[in-house]
Amino acid sequence: MMNITASFHGILADWIGASSARFDLSNNATHGDLQLAIHQRYGQNMPDQLWDKTENKFAKEVIVSGKGEISKFMSVALKDNETVDFLLMIAGG
């Protein structure tokens, strides 16, 4: 098993109800698996628009950053003790 920390920034933390959370995932887990685990734990709190039901992942406005780089692919493998940042990229005002 791997231990992964998900860190939620800005209003994402408010919507999810946590600024960070730890997940135990299988050794070959990917970014997609992490997102599913987050949704399973916190999905009830999230606004519907935050989750893309067709693709089964966060909406396109959510940027996922691992090891300081933006990850665009759900198939990217995670590493034990990795922290993955989730940021909502909506600007205005």
């Binding site: 209003i11 628009q49 406005e61 909502l88 205005g92 005002g93």
Partner: protein
């Protein structure tokens, strides 16, 4: 003609006369409405020598073909004239109910010239216009003025746009307020209104322009509401207002700190979440908007409900002044709303004063008291000094460029473009934004060049405006030019910048309302026409390439945060921008051919004689 009443109301306050200014369909098709149509009207009436505060400078208020239709997020209007703050092209927009009522009174807009010999207000209802005495309202704040004039009109449905004491005192960044806390904030058009002795415009009515295909308009509106409600952005704006961006802006280095000299600050103290946690907050919407990004703070002080600050205001009085005291930010916002001041120019001028004090250029004697970064009380005192035209407030009320000049400082220290103070976004965080700030006709404007939205993932494939590395300059000039033209069109239509509807939807809506046959290329071409027309007004008033730049204070690399060491390559982007628009590199003017190509032969004639 569909979608328009086909007339503006022309008011000469000197002669106390009103008459219709008829609009032809060709004119409407060419300039659409709002700020673009205002530019076409103003171009014919001002010259290089027109004093912004003279009776000859027209104040134009304009709606567009979308205004008062069932399309969501279109209750907006534009105000325009030569800016008393910058001396160049000036425009501002506002939402609320006033735009709906202005068009509902039976006109597409107003052209106000002259100067009344005593304070007046304009009352519009059912196609009738009256110039009424406003002596008793002169001196009153914007909230009380709106209340009192509504009572004077005896109309529950009247909506009022007015100036406060700041506009009466001709403070260069005075704004025009409507529907309580909605502001046409930028460029000091409240001072232009004040120079005409015009306290307010009150409008009432539900007269709607006929649509070419009402059934399709209804269908498109229904779909648009569904689409808007389906976006995550709408949920975020509804729940947290524009302040939802504060902490994200700070992570990206997009929210300026300490008068543009830093980029890291504990922004979590001035966010939409923090506002909701600390105060009793409710939201409100402009007429016909399904989002409701406006904030109302209930019982801010016992029995006092006030408008909450927008993102721009909270950053200007907050991180830009190193201030985390939310109470003082809210109160500064309330003071500006009440007395009719642009919060951005006020906040930036105050931050500049704090910067100058730290450098020893201002001292206790000159300022009247100690100016300290992060001191909420000091910021409020300075806002009051500006409003009351007391002490150091007289200097601050002229804006940063005049401050630098009067104090003998390098103008590159003044955080402005073409005299308009920088908004609360950073060109160092989004290079496309830097070139937009530098080139926008009204000066540093985040609304026509909000390029951060593009680089955060919002593409416009019809125009090949695609997200790219936000910190890369090369290749940004052309998409930024296109995006600026496209967004300029929003203020012609009039459509809220937060509306997430697609280009094809905008075309379909415009065509269903007017019966025209616009395609995406026609839309962009109209936006280009708008930018070039406003540019020509500026060229005639002395703008050249020299004015298309960011001041050094907003360009020099910072040494912290996610934009550490970053500096946009302005020269590369400006050359690309000029090439797209076919502007002459030496003179900064649009080429004759380009103007003719855009149907602006009359403009070319005036510009090249």
């Amino acid at each position: 003609m569909r979608g328009y009443h086909g007339r503006f109301l022309e008011v000469d306050l000197t002669k106390k006369t009103t008459k219709d200014f008829p609009l032809t369909e060709d004119f409407c098709k060419k300039y659409i409405g709002g700020a673009t149509m205002a530019a076409a009207i103003i171009f014919d009436r001002v010259g290089p020598e027109t004093d912004p505060l003279s009776p000859e400078n027209p104040l134009v208020m304009a709606t567009g073909p979308f205004t008062s239709s069932s399309i969501p997020m279109v209750s907006r209007y534009a105000v325009a004239g030569i800016s008393p703050l910058t001396g160049f092209w000036g425009e501002a927009t506002s939402g609320g109910a006033f735009p709906f009522r202005l068009k509902g009174a039976g006109w597409d807009g107003l052209i106000i010239t002259g100067k009344a010999d005593s304070p007046v207000y304009l009352y519009l209802e059912g196609g009738k216009a009256e110039i009424r005495d406003a002596t008793t309202f002169w001196g009153q704040d914007t909230y009380n003025t709106q209340k009192a004039i509504k009572k004077d009109c005896g109309s529950n449905t009247a909506s009022v746009a007015c100036i406060g004491p700041a506009g009466e005192k001709l403070i260069h960044f005075a704004c025009i307020m409507n529907d309580k806390g909605r502001a046409a904030g930028r460029c000091g058009l409240g001072a232009l209104m004040g120079s005409k002795n015009l306290k307010a415009v009150a409008a009432s009515g539900n007269d709607r322009a006929a649509h070419a295909d009402a059934k399709t308009v209804a269908k498109l509106s229904k779909q648009a509401i569904k689409d808007i409600n389906g976006t995550l952005g709408s949920v975020a704006f509804r729940e947290y207002g524009t302040l939802m961006y504060s902490d994200m802006g700070m992570i990206l280095g997009d929210a300026p700190v300490k008068y543009f000299t830093k980029s890291v600050f504990p922004a979590s103290k001035v966010t939409g979440q923090a506002l909701r946690q600390k105060y009793a907050v409710t939201n409100y919407a402009c007429l016909g908007c399904p989002i409701g990004c406006g904030r109302k703070i209930n019982d801010f002080k016992p029995g006092l409900d006030i408008d909450g600050p927008e993102y721009e205001t909270a950053i200007a009085f907050g991180p830009l002044c190193l201030n985390t005291d939310f109470d003082s930010i809210i109160e500064a916002n309330h003071l500006c709303n009440t007395y009719g001041l642009d919060t951005i120019s006020a906040g930036v001028s105050i931050a500049y004063a704090l910067y100058l004090y730290e450098k020893g250029i201002l001292d206790k004697d000159k300022a009247g008291f100690e100016l300290k970064w992060g001191d909420g009380e000091c910021i409020l005192k300075l806002v009051n000094n500006i409003i009351n035209q007391e002490g150091i407030g007289v200097l601050l009320s002229k804006g940063t460029l005049a401050m630098a000049r009067e104090l003998g400082r390098d103008e590159d220290e003044a955080a402005q473009v073409k005299g308009l103070e920088m908004p609360m976004h950073e060109g160092r965080a989004f290079h496309g934004l830097a070139i937009s700030f530098a080139t926008n006709p009204r000066g540093a404007c985040h609304l026509k060049g909000n390029y951060y939205n593009v680089d955060l993932g919002n593409m416009i494939p019809e125009y090949m405006i695609m997200p790219s590395d936000r910190l890369v300059s090369e290749g940004k000039g052309v998409p930024a030019a296109k995006f600026q033209s496209f967004k300029d069109l929003y203020d012609a239509l009039t459509l809220c910048k937060f509306s997430p509807i697609e280009v094809s939807q905008i075309c379909d809506m415009l065509n269903a309302i007017t019966g025209w046959d616009f395609n995406p290329e026609d839309l962009l071409s109209t936006g280009n026409r708008s930018i070039n027309l406003k540019r020509a007004i500026n060229n005639l008033r002395g703008v050249t390439r020299v004015h298309d730049k960011l001041p050094k204070i907003c360009l020099q690399p910072l040494s912290e945060g996610t934009t550490d060491g970053v500096q946009p390559d302005m020269d590369t982007m400006l050359r690309e921008y000029y090439q797209y628009h076919k502007w002459d590199w030496e003179s900064g003017k649009p080429s004759k051919d380009r103007l003719v190509e855009l149907g602006l032969g009359n403009v070319a004639e005036k510009l090249y004689t």
